[in-house]
């Protein structure tokens, strides 16, 4: 490396996708003109779709890590519907879809088949939305975890069933308005105290690797996918992907919202190995939860006199995450 690369301060390249000042190998997969574009143009996702973005980020990183030897199994959901309206496909990789709830089990089968055929270099990857993961596919997912099958399961969490018209899932946050949790009555929006935290449940299975990530931090996301592909056994990656349609947000705010979710503490970004949390991404510029909630119409009902208490409740949830994962420290995270 020459003198210009030895510097640690890449003022413009620390958070951006690429950096013209470092060598190609040090840049992100997405900065490369050779990225596989596993999910290519012409897909029918809405404008500003976070899931389409997250899926390309994750798949391209997995392709880079395995030399292109990935077979993807997809649960039913937006990602499946918008990429494969018969007879077209947006996938530039082997890809299959079976049912809503069995992606983890099918991927287990793919891994087994490759093992039997002696194709050890080919890796199985299962993916789905939060509905297919935390609700409908949860039994198959837990089974894959406890058997420690050699599958990376990626959940693209947009916090509701968006494809079918924004119905609540067990990943929908408290107070969020969905088609099935309308903003009316004494407890408008999704009820506090419901839902489940699947990343934590995955950690509880003691599997080799669990991580959360967001589309707002590409470098972190790619690092985690590449790390996961270097491990055999059951692995789980939970990616937060804002949905402009379902959340009632502007299409250009997708990444901004993902960033604010992390910076306010509502979505903790961490990783765990064999049941133990090993690291977290510190909050860089902390914001109150209102900053994250306000641009989303699903939370519009909170910005009334009656909503103040519920905002405090959401802030308390964020504060609990901050304390639990040590998201803020005195020195910050330059």
């Amino acid at each position: 490396m020459d003198a210009t690369q030895k510097l640690h301060f890449y003022q413009k390249g620390t958070f951006t996708v690429g950096n013209r000042l470092v060598s190609e190998e040090q840049r992100s997969v997405q900065a490369s003109t050779d990225r596989s574009n596993a999910l290519t143009c012409g897909h029918r996702a809405c404008q500003g779709c976070g899931e389409a973005l997250g899926a390309r980020y994750a798949m391209d990183a997995a392709m880079r890590a395995t030399g292109g030897n990935v077979i993807a199994v997809n649960a039913t959901g937006c990602l499946e519907v918008f990429t494969t309206p018969y007879p077209e496909t947006s996938w530039q990789t082997p890809w299959l879809h079976s049912l809503f709830g069995n992606a983890a089990a099918v991927a287990t089968g793919v891994a087994a088949a490759m093992r039997v055929k002696g194709r050890h270099e080919v890796r199985a990857l299962a993916q789905g939305g939060d509905g297919g993961t935390t609700d409908i596919g949860f039994g198959c997912l837990s089974g894959m975890f406890e058997r420690n099958d050699d599958v990376l399961y990626i959940c693209y969490d947009n916090e509701a069933y968006m494809n079918t018209g924004v119905q609540r899932s067990s990943a929908t946050p408290p107070a969020a308005r969905t088609a099935t949790t309308p903003a009316m009555g004494p407890q408008p929006g999704n009820v506090f105290g419901t839902g489940k935290n699947v990343p934590k449940i995955a950690v509880a299975h003691g599997i080799p690797y669990v991580a959360t990530a967001t589309v707002a931090d590409l470098h972190d996301l790619e690092r985690k996918v590449i790390k996961a592909m270097g491990i055999h056994g059951a692995r789980y990656l939970h990616i937060h992907v804002p949905c402009p349609l379902g959340w009632g947000a502007a299409s250009h705010d997708t990444i901004r919202l993902a960033r604010l979710a992390v910076e306010c503490g509502l979505f903790p970004v961490f990783e765990a190995e064999h049941g133990v949390v090993t690291g977290c991404r510190k909050i860089r510029r902390q914001v109150p939860v209102e900053e994250y909630l306000r641009p989303q119409r699903r939370f519009a009902h909170l910005f009334t006199e009656a909503g103040k208490e519920r905002i405090r409740h959401l802030q308390a949830l964020a504060d609990r995450n901050i304390a639990e994962y040590h998201l803020v420290d005195a020195e910050g995270d330059g």
């Binding site: 003022q11 620390t14 958070f15 992100s28 143009c41 976070g50 389409a52 250009h252 997708t254 901004r256």
Partner: protein
């Protein structure tokens, strides 16, 4: 039909689905005007030369810089850097140290002996430039590069103007100034020293010049009437600073009072201190916050032990004693006399009350308009006399080296066009890249590099340069603090964040292109562009 069971259609790619038709707004790449460039009186493309400096290509950075300003090593020392005052980074942490990087580039160029490319062609036109100060040198450089034959007539014994006779050595070492002037004369500019122009029209006729650019500066110190005893020693700051360039150093005595509140007053007091004055006192009729001098210069002077006497006017001077009247600011902020007097012991009084222009060379030239002691010029820098242009301190403007260099460049463009029988039309200004168009998230926190300063004891007794420069590592760091406001720096963000894979990366140095066949117009690229180089515009439907 050899399709499998229940399959009737061939598998196709979604590439057949041109989702660009969904779009109601389209992203377009733009170049917005960085605030530093907007603020630079010399019209430097600061963002662009910092871009080259960032990758360690200092020569390209220097060549880009010197397109607009041939004196970077001088600038990096004496410019009051309005660019840094406008810098968007100041709203994130601290402004980029543009001035220190400029000095680094200027010094690197001198050290490596980089020279300017000679003109491609000779036009055969002759231009007379009167005055070898920053404005005249800048115009000479710009006109020579365009192929005109240039003669500079300088009244003084050395080139440099106020850069030599007004700015003390501890701010601008003379070897630096000499090196940058020599580089300009090496382009083939004829410099005639000790040749005062008595009447411009005669000199033009005698030398067969097609045009003239006047930049004689403002070298006459303003005097105020102060009743004084016969033994009182009173001199003006301009003469004091000029005499520092001669063999004999002026004798000021142990106690020196400087009267005035501008940068020249500060320079005079700091010079007096270095000449051995035990007390150097600045007397100013208003308060520090109303002083025209730059705050950092006042601060440096205070560090060196210069004393300040605010709200005071000098009423008379007798041998060794000054009578001073205390002032009071009225509600409009104007100083009003109080009738209270006090005395100050002093050996000499230096008046730093501003400067006037010696306009004698314009006597009898028809068409010229002179107002408030300066020559009036048109927007194209031409005086009322066709073919005679003027700039620098002798026209109405702020009197700084950088403004003067800017005048020289501007006048050169108009003179060049005029010599070709055309009119120079400035390119359209881009929209300002204000901070609200940027996404500051993507810039890492990086505090400004502090330049080393000479220790105070040596500053009080020697004329060594006060402020040090950067070395390569911290100059590079400082350059990389630039946000590249409004201009793509190829961070790949748009290429990465497009959910539709609709941005085409064209390769290093070639930036990007939108693939409007697939771009749905979501606007994520524009929102996440760090530097505000993407704009969403409504689609024609």
């Amino acid at each position: 039909m050899d399709h499998p069971y229940a399959i009737t259609l061939d598998v196709g790619s979604s590439l057949a689905n041109r989702t660009g038709s969904w779009r109601t707004e389209r992203p377009v790449y733009v170049d917005r005007l960085p605030p530093c460039n907007n603020a630079c009186p010399a019209g430097e493309n600061i963002q662009k030369w910092l871009y080259h400096a960032e990758s360690g290509d200092y020569e390209t950075a220097w060549r880009t810089l010197t397109q607009d300003n041939p004196l970077p090593a001088v600038m990096g020392r004496v410019c009051y850097h309005p660019c840094e005052g406008a810098c968007n980074r100041a709203q994130i942490d601290e402004a980029v140290g543009i001035n220190s990087v400029e000095r680094f580039l200027g010094d690197t160029a001198i050290r490596n002996g980089w020279t300017f490319a000679p003109p491609q062609t000779e036009t055969g036109k002759r231009v007379l430039i009167v005055g070898a100060g920053p404005s005249g040198l800048s115009a000479a450089y710009q006109l020579r590069r365009r192929g005109h034959a240039i003669e500079i007539h300088e009244a003084g014994p050395f080139a440099g103007g106020m850069m030599r006779f007004g700015i003390p050595k501890y701010r601008l070492p003379r070897d630096v100034l000499d090196a940058e002037i020599k580089r300009i004369t090496d382009l083939g500019v004829t410099l005639k020293l000790n040749s005062k122009v008595n009447r411009i029209t005669d000199s033009m006729k005698a030398g067969k010049f097609d045009a003239a650019f006047l930049a004689v500066g403002a070298h006459i110190g303003k005097r105020a009437y102060i009743p004084a005893g016969s033994a009182a020693k009173i001199l003006d700051a301009v003469s004091l600073l000029r005499s520092m360039e001669g063999e004999d150093r002026p004798l000021l005595g142990r106690r020196v009072v400087v009267y005035g509140g501008g940068n020249t007053a500060i320079d005079a007091a700091r010079t007096a201190k270095r000449l051995g004055a035990t007390e150097a006192i600045i007397v100013y009729r208003r308060t520090r916050d109303r002083m025209p001098a730059h705050d950092f210069e006042v601060e440096e002077a205070l560090q060196e032990g210069i004393m300040m006497k605010w709200l005071s006017t000098i009423k008379r001077m007798d041998e060794g004693v000054l009578t001073v009247e205390k002032m009071q600011l009225d509600e409009k902020g104007f100083p009003q006399p109080t009738g209270e007097f006090e005395t100050l012991e002093t050996d000499s009084l230096v008046l730093a009350l501003g400067q006037d222009v010696d306009l004698s060379l314009l006597d009898g030239v028809p068409g010229l308009q002179i107002k408030d002691g300066v020559v009036q010029v048109d927007t194209n820098m031409m005086t009322g006399h066709v073919g005679i242009f003027a700039g620098g301190d002798m026209v109405p403007s702020e009197r700084t080296v950088t403004v003067a260099v800017g005048h020289g460049k501007k006048a050169a463009r108009h003179i060049d066009a005029w010599l070709h029988g055309e009119a120079y039309i400035a390119p359209e200004r881009h929209e300002l890249a204000s901070i609200d168009k940027m996404n500051s998230w993507y810039y890492a926190d990086a505090p400004k590099t502090v330049r080393p300063m000479l220790e105070v004891v040596r500053r009080q007794s020697t004329f060594e340069e006060v402020q040090g420069g950067l070395d390569e590592t911290n100059a590079l760091y400082e350059a990389r603090r630039c946000l590249s406001c409004g201009n793509c720096f190829e961070c790949d963000n748009c290429y990465g964040v497009c959910p539709d894979n609709a941005v085409i990366k064209l390769g290093s140095g070639k930036r990007f292109r939108f693939n409007y066949d697939y771009c749905k117009g979501c606007g994520v690229c524009a929102q996440e562009c760090p530097c505000g180089a993407i704009k969403m515009i409504p689609e024609e439907i």
